[in-house]
Symmetry: C2
Amino acid sequence: VRKKCLNLVNGAFSKRWHQITAYNGVPCDALSIEWNKAIKPEMVREKLDTGEYDAVTLVFNETSTGTMNPLKEIAEVVKEYDDVFLFVDAVSAMAGVKIEVDKLGIDMCLAGLQKCFALPSGLAVSPVSERLLERAKEVPPRSYYFNLNIMHKYYQRSQTPVTPAIPHLFALDRQLDYILDEEGLENRFARHERMAAIVQKWARTHFDTYPERGYESKTLTCIENTRGISVKELNERLMNEYGMRISNGYGELKEKTFRIAHMGDAQVQDVKGLLAVIDDILGLE
Amino acid sequence: VRKKCLNLVNGAFSKRWHQITAYNGVPCDALSIEWNKAIKPEMVREKLDTGEYDAVTLVFNETSTGTMNPLKEIAEVVKEYDDVFLFVDAVSAMAGVKIEVDKLGIDMCLAGLQKCFALPSGLAVSPVSERLLERAKEVPPRSYYFNLNIMHKYYQRSQTPVTPAIPHLFALDRQLDYILDEEGLENRFARHERMAAIVQKWARTHFDTYPERGYESKTLTCIENTRGISVKELNERLMNEYGMRISNGYGELKEKTFRIAHMGDAQVQDVKGLLAVIDDILGLE
């Protein structure tokens, strides 16, 4: 970053990215909006028009709020500005939702393996654009551990700069074979769509969905607790009696919302089973 | 660090720590000596007497050269200077060699699990001193990921700031039970001593040891290739015919030295078996 970084903030994880940017000594501003709203392309254009920024961070799928920001539309706006780099957090979306990294001009698209890849936590992955690698050469290094130049140098030799988490690499190799050759990418994305539609419909029938309409996540649904149920108690019964688990709301949204994940290797029947059990526990229908 | 950091350098990994310190924007100097020599306490005293430094980094066991620096003696010197923090890389030593972290006044003692803990790579551990936690509060944060304040805050709630590598934590828990309750710490240290003595004796009979006498590592032996054998070929035969593996020399020491690891869960009989096989291949004795 030569000028300033614009952090788009509408949830706990995008807020954290702003904090990380500041901690790393990168000049930055947050564009913060209400957490149940999505970032809109025109908001981004307005900020980029100032000419103050040459980097944008976006959390595609806010795991804290269940909001899926309109990545395609935002990326198209960023693309209009030649010198602006786009960094995307796709932690809870990659491998569950289609992301056309090259076409959208995303310079870095980060994900952890413990979400839609359905693998144990411990490894992060990211495609990186050529122009980001070029830019990284011009920037004084700020660390050894997160150093794109060093990573890329070792990558070209099929090595890693530091001893990697070997078991995770084997697991990733196996899972990528499964995703690409057995299930098929398009089938995987379609399965996430179906699961999301089922949970959203259920949520609107009995409660309400938290995010602004039209921006609901395909990988997890954040539900507004309009019935004032005890989410903690519901989750305890799910865990103790059925070995199932949902998530309470994140941080300040605890008990005001709750979240149901439908990602990774979860199947339509798993989701239907979970919702039927919740119906029983809460006496719904 | 308020003043400057002194990086003690006598191998590839201590050289890298100097580079890391500089990359992180911490003012620093390297005290560099020949790679087959050990850092001596009086060298450290001479530098600290200048009053320029308030932090020292030391690689206890240089995996690149098989040199074990005199940690106890160096720590005693550092302790004489009240305001100097001691950071120790114990990557290939912790859980194989006794390190009295509190008694020696080590402020941070880093290790990876893939060496003497005999676990898969992917997790680093470190005890941290109270005064380092206090100091961390006064220093402007330089990153989120390696932020002691944040880590400590979550540690106090038995949590981690980011999703941790869960499988590694279970493996560590299991292995710590084994080390402490089944094998016993002192037995583990004694086993490493025995294995080191066997390999060193073998090395001196047929070749020579690379590090200065008296400073040979207890966890791996770096052998000077005085016979001019092809280490690459020896290793290929070991791997293909016996499923065993040694290490070539590190970086510029390739083919000039080679390294035999005797750490982790390796037993005396494993080490003897390996050496007997090498004798056969090279026609030694």
